[in-house]
């Protein structure tokens, strides 16, 4: 397996496992000490989240260990599940049926096919150009003009978020960075670790020290303390991981900041979408977390930025 050939990759994965073990022990201790009703609910959620993290790390670990194909298949499945959750919430009409089928069975596989073959041009154009024009064309042929612009825009938007944006994460593997050939898995791991740690630390810092609500109209649980503390810590950890990337410490700090900020924007935007559709979560697939889309909302926004910045400055 390629997994153990790379020392740095072993360190990264080992670090994640240690971090998760500590979290599991802390959650178990907190569970014993929780007395009040609300504390118990919070801790139960924490335990469920930690448990789900083990499963997610296992799945992602296997995907990374099997090399490019594994990561690609895993992200394609993630895109599929996210698309499925998002589409379920959309107010669609009978006439949208064919266009919806196209998003699932044509554009999604095709997008990942272009990632797999490393055809950068089509990877970047398929959804923003071809799908963008084809979807309204398919819709208009169905002959229903009611709410037409909104229906078109919704389909384009979910396809962009769930397929186009997400596919930028495994696309990191197709970047050819001088002196870093064949090490793209660490870049992908770096992105995922920073976005997910940022989410986790924002949650933890917010729960511990959160006083001032940041955006009460959109997401009542987000606090200024959580954003600054959690985001800051995630940038620090991202910087400290520079050795696993093609970046210098300063570059790693800058890129981590972009990833963290984009992730915050993503989380907030998707919260607004949930609010708009009057649901709390996108799904219930991941215990304690909600749906797949609840888990990857920050990644959706961070992945394309991280991909293009890395591609522009390092290839």
């Amino acid at each position: 397996m390629t997994l153990f050939a790379d020392r740095e990759l072993v360190w990264l994965i080992g670090g994640i496992l240690i971090f998760l073990s500590i979290a599991t022990v802390v959650a178990a201790i907190l569970k014993r000490r929780a007395r009040s009703e609300s504390a118990r609910a919070t801790v139960d959620n924490l335990v469920a989240r930690t448990r789900a993290w083990w499963v997610m790390v296992l799945v992602f670990g296997i995907a990374i260990a099997t090399g490019g194909v594994g990561s690609l298949v895993m992200f394609a499945i993630v895109s599929f599940l996210a698309l499925r959750e998002f589409m379920t919430l959309l107010p669609t009409r009978r006439a949208d049926h064919r266009a919806m089928l196209w998003t699932f069975f044509l554009f999604l596989p095709l997008q990942y096919w272009y990632v797999a073959t490393g055809w950068y041009g089509m990877f970047s154009l398929l959804i923003p150009v071809y799908a963008y024009l084809l979807l309204p064309s398919v819709l208009v042929l169905a002959g229903d003009t009611e709410d037409f612009l909104a229906r078109t825009a919704r389909l384009q938007w979910v396809l962009m978020i769930c397929v186009f944006c997400v596919s930028h994460a495994p696309a990191l593997l197709m970047l050819e960075i001088p002196g870093y050939q064949g090490e793209g898995a660490k870049l992908l791991l770096f992105l995922v670790v920073v976005t997910q740690l940022s989410d986790v630390l924002q949650y933890v810092v917010g729960k511990l020290f959160g006083r001032h609500k940041a955006v009460p109209a959109v997401s009542p649980n987000k606090t200024i303390e959580g954003y600054l503390g959690g985001g800051g810590l995630a940038v620090l950890i991202g910087t400290a991981l520079w050795w696993a990337t093609p970046f210098t410490p300063w570059q790693a700090a800058l890129l981590s900041s972009v990833v963290v900020l984009a992730g915050m924007a993503g989380g907030l935007v998707m919260s607004a979408v949930k609010r708009d559709r009057q649901v709390k979560d996108f799904g219930a697939l991941i215990p304690g977390h909600g749906g797949v889309l609840d888990r990857i909302d920050s990644l959706c926004f961070a992945a394309p930025l991280f991909f293009h910045l890395t591609r522009f400055y390092f290839t």
């Binding site: 599929f80 499925r84 959750e85 589409m87 379920t88 669609t92 009978r94 049926h97 919806m100 089928l101 699932f104 069975f105 009057q278 649901v279 799904g283």
Partner: protein, 139 residues
């Protein structure tokens, strides 16, 4: 193929739905249908009924057909559990061949019984309302 799916996959009870002519044949067809259903229930097995009789546009729950009433009267002791199936018309609308892989939803309600001497329309409407309540109560 259809036969295999109906029998082996869905374990369906096939019913003759050809429109019969003449009062006598109609009567006989109804009796046979009812007997087929009650014999399943008498065998300690459950039946899943789609009382709308067909698939609609998904916008509303259609009026219920009378078969449910006749079956309930024939076996008043058997509990009727209302079930609401959500999102199905969007996943596979009438006339479409491929389903969009969205999430569906199944909501179960509290069991119902037919009351002694309950009017047919009143009973069917009560059952329909039970399903509607599940539709509104979801999420």
């Amino acid at each position: 193929m259809r036969r295999f799916i109906a029998h082996r996959v869905f374990n369906a009870l096939l019913i003759d739905r050809r429109s019969a002519e003449g009062a006598e044949t109609v009567d006989r067809q109804r009796r046979e249908t009812l007997e087929a259903m009650t014999s399943v229930l008498d065998g300690e097995r459950s039946l899943i009924l789609y009382p709308e009789g067909t698939r609609g546009s998904g916008d509303a729950v259609q009026p219920f057909r009378a078969g449910l009433y006749h079956l309930a009267r024939a076996r008043p002791g058997v509990p009727l559990v209302p079930v609401y199936l959500g999102n199905l018309a969007r996943i596979l609308p009438k006339g479409a061949t491929l389903p969009v892989p969205m999430q569906g939803q199944v909501v179960f309600g509290a069991e119902l019984h037919i009351a002694i001497g309950e009017d047919k329309q009143a009973f069917l409407e009560r059952c329909r309302c039970a399903v509607l309540e599940l539709a509104e109560g979801r999420q």
